[in-house]
Amino acid sequence: MSFQVKYFGMLAEIAGLSDEVWNAAGGLTVGQFRAQMLDKYPAMRDKKFKIAVNQKISEDFVLIETPAEIALLPPFAGG
């Protein structure tokens, strides 16, 4: 499966890009995706962030169903 991943704020700086296509061998939950992502970008390990699936903040047990847009959201700072 493959899906779109968007990075914001400090996470985009760590990844060195603001979006990419993520390819995975089989189905993934949000938690499994998080683990793969931290392997790819170890510098994100000590950063706080939430994961949104199709613009909805999602728990780790949620299964990612394609087509999906995943977004990594660091702490909010509006106002």
Binding site: F8, A71, F76, G79
Partner: protein, 148 residues
């Protein structure tokens, strides 16, 4: 019947000018059912950090999700408070210290709803809208801001 409110454009590029705020107030003079406006303005503070003074905040957002979050906040506020109208503007890009980055403007027949709605809306924005802020510090440093 549920009132439907069209999604409105919230984001503006750069600071929100005092002139824009004044014109927004003036444009409500014809709405004579209004007895109270409440306005909240968020201004960039020159905090002292380790690397120097904050000189501004560079805002980015997950815009599609943020627009939806603003829309949800508007709908919730209209349902919760007796409001005649509501406007929310937030900056993207660089806003220098001393300038305005958030403008919340609510109008009601009576003051209580206006006071309460403005506080509710600002707190909801800070907690639930995916906006990110890079505080520029001193000559070249930066710190990613985090709402508490």
């Amino acid at each position: 019947m549920e009132k439907a409110h069209k999604p409105k454009k919230v984001f503006v590029q750069g600071p929100i000018s005092p002139d824009f705020v004044a014109k927004s107030i003036a444009s409500h003079q014809s709405k004579t059912g209004i007895g109270a406006h409440a306005i909240f303005l968020g201004q960039i503070r020159a905090d002292q950090k380790e690397g120097g003074l904050v000189t501004g905040i560079d805002y980015t957002a997950y815009e599609e999700m943020a627009e939806q979050a603003f829309h949800n906040i508007r709908e919730a506020a209209f349902a919760k408070f007796e409001l005649t109208c509501m406007h929310i503007y937030h900056s993207l890009g660089l806003v220098p210290t001393g300038e305005i980055s958030l403008f919340v403007f609510v109008s009601s027949p009576h003051r209580r709803a206006a006071f309460e709605a403005s506080e509710y809306i600002v707190e909801e924005i800070k907690a639930n809208v995916p906006i990110f802020g890079k505080e520029l510090v001193g000559d070249a440093g930066f710190i990613w801001k985090e709402n508490t």
